[in-house]
């Protein structure tokens, strides 16, 4: 016990110094916003902006009603799109699993050589958008579904690899230790100590990525990598707005459906 008899009624969450810095920080943020606004509006032609509602109404009018008779023609490209997403995800996941085990600190066979390589693969895959991958691959392996599948797969390695290696690093070390204590071999330690722990994460990540890939694969056709995007581009080129509307509605429906499936699957396993 100390000798204090009068306890202070004043208590501050932050020191005055910290408060000053907070205010300066906010001020800088506002200044940045004002400056950005100026840069943004510098080249704007205000006549066009003023005209925007009328233009929007014009295009909107030409897009309506959607051309329902176009629907049968879209079914095959839609099927292609779903296949691109599914096969691409499958390929990406298959390639991502070994990369994730090499990248995770607690499972990597070599901290100084393989781990940096695996991390580089993950970063490289993630830093390039699927559309860019598709552009490159159309040039390399020619236009068509295969280019789309490979593009989606390459893009998925990074996403799945990163989330999976984080899940591997977050496993409970005590469970792994207990498996090691039985005299299990390294492969058995992975299969009994680590795999059961990361399984829910693995399925969750894969289905989530599949869901994202459905969305990404709808635009791959724009660069010639097959699927419904091809039809979208063709319709845009000939200014067939009712067909564009039909395609957008179909894409929306597919994405909603895939989100629902992915939510259900994740709910079932977690």
């Amino acid at each position: 016990m100390t000798e204090i008899t009068h306890y202070s009624q004043v208590w501050a969450h932050r020191t005055p110094r910290k408060r000053l810095f907070m205010w300066l920080g906010w001020l800088a943020l506002v200044a940045l916003f004002v400056w950005c606004w100026q840069v943004m509006t510098e080249n704007t032609i205000w006549a066009f902006v003023a005209d925007a509602p009328r233009q929007a109404a014009d295009i909107g009018g030409r897009m309506m009603p959607p051309r329902l008779s176009y629907l049968p023609e879209l079914m095959v490209p839609l099927w292609d799109t779903i296949n691109i997403a599914t096969l691409g995800t499958l390929g990406g996941v298959i390639m991502a699993v070994p990369v994730a085990f090499m990248a995770a600190r607690n499972t990597t066979p070599s901290q100084h050589i393989l781990r940096p390589i695996a991390l580089f693969i993950i970063v490289a895959s993630r830093s390039i958008n699927s559309l860019i991958w598709a552009l490159l691959l159309v040039a390399i392996i020619g236009p068509g579904i295969l280019a789309g599948i490979v593009a989606i797969a390459l893009r998925s390695i990074g996403f799945v690899g990163k989330l999976l290696y984080e899940a591997i690093e977050e496993t409970d070390a005590r469970q792994i230790e207990a498996v090691q204590a039985t005299g299990a071999s390294p492969a058995q330690v992975v299969s009994y100590g680590i795999v059961p722990q990361v399984m829910p994460a693995f399925w969750g990540i894969s289905v989530f990525r599949w869901d994202i890939n459905i969305r990404e694969s709808t635009i791959l056709g724009l660069v010639g990598a097959g699927g419904i995007g091809l039809k979208l581009q063709a319709s845009l080129n000939v200014l067939a707005w009712p067909q564009v509307t039909m395609i957008l509605i179909l894409i929306l429906g597919t994405v909603v459906l895939s989100e629902w499936v992915s939510a259900r699957v994740r709910h079932a396993i977690i």
């Binding site: 230790e177 498996v179 009994y192 059961p196 722990q197």
Partner: protein, 272 residues
């Protein structure tokens, strides 16, 4: 059976966790290891099966020096040592049966463990052990569906599935309530007696240690400061291990707690 000779562990940071621990555990003896937090109890038992690498001394299990083995041979020798953990350390998402069978991992090839196709005698033995620890009807439940006491019994069955010659037990009751703790300790001591198994039990509940252990070793700052039967664990000895504390008051407190528990139980029974 187990003979530690001058065992030492100094961490890379320079912290000395164990120094010059020399102990002999004969066949069939249950030895309690007590000491304050950070005294090196956990490090000591982990140095025996080398989940922690000792930096000095020898660990003789029979004629084999575990401290000097290569990786492959160490794995073979680990099969002889069953380990039971503080927070059970079961693989939570596997079933009870898979957890018990995982005690056989050191004996079966990878494909058998991967496909869960264990030899029939292993499966029979696993069922026998589950029956022994009273979990026969829970065999196909997932480990995370069980209560704490049940999980620890799965942990015991897993360790026994190895057909070990020595049991290492790390704070088996630290996450359990007093009643379950006593049940688990009773089960452990019974099983050790049945099989003539020697065991080293880390435990920080002194009354529990005195009740169940045949021999108690006190560890303080990585050194053995007490070694004797539970009766010799006087207040002077406890002070030597834990530092000054009013032991008499603590024991009185234990008695009070036991009384309160008994009273609560009586009330519950009256309600039921």
């Amino acid at each position: 059976m187990l003979h530690l000779k001058g065992l030492g562990k100094t961490y890379k940071t320079g912290d000395v966790a164990l120094s010059d621990v020399t102990l002999e555990v004969p066949k069939g003896q249950i030895m309690g290891l007590i000491g304050p937090s950070g005294a090196g109890k956990s490090t000591l038992i982990r140095c025996i099966n080398r989940l922690v690498e000792p930096t000095a001394g020898a660990v003789m299990l029979g004629d084999v020096d575990l401290a000097s083995l290569g990786k492959r041979e160490l794995r073979r020798q680990r099969r002889r040592i069953g380990m039971i953990f503080q927070e059970y350390a079961l693989v939570e998402r596997l079933t009870v049966m898979e957890n018990v069978l995982s005690g056989r991992l050191g004996y079966v090839p990878f494909w058998r463990s991967f496909l869960r196709r264990y030899p029939p005698q292993d499966i029979q033995n696993a069922y026998r052990l589950l029956d022994r620890v009273g979990l026969m009807e829970h065999a196909d439940k997932r480990a995370d569906a069980l209560s704490g006491g049940q999980r620890q019994r799965v942990g015991i069955a897993r360790a026994l599935a190895q057909e070990p010659e020595l049991l290492l037990v790390d704070e088996p009751t630290a996450s359990l309530d007093p009643k379950t703790s006593r049940q688990i300790m009773r089960l452990l001591t019974e099983i050790c007696a049945e099989r003539g198994l020697p065991a080293i039990v880390n435990i920080h509940d002194v009354p529990l240690a005195q009740q169940f252990m045949q021999r108690i070793v006190g560890l303080r700052a990585g050194r053995v400061v007490f070694d004797g039967p539970p009766e010799d664990l006087t207040e002077a000895a406890l002070t030597e291990i834990y530092g000054a504390e009013d032991w008499h008051a603590m024991r009185a407190g234990d008695a009070e707690q036991a009384e309160a528990e008994a009273e609560a139980r009586a009330r519950m029974e009256a309600l039921a």
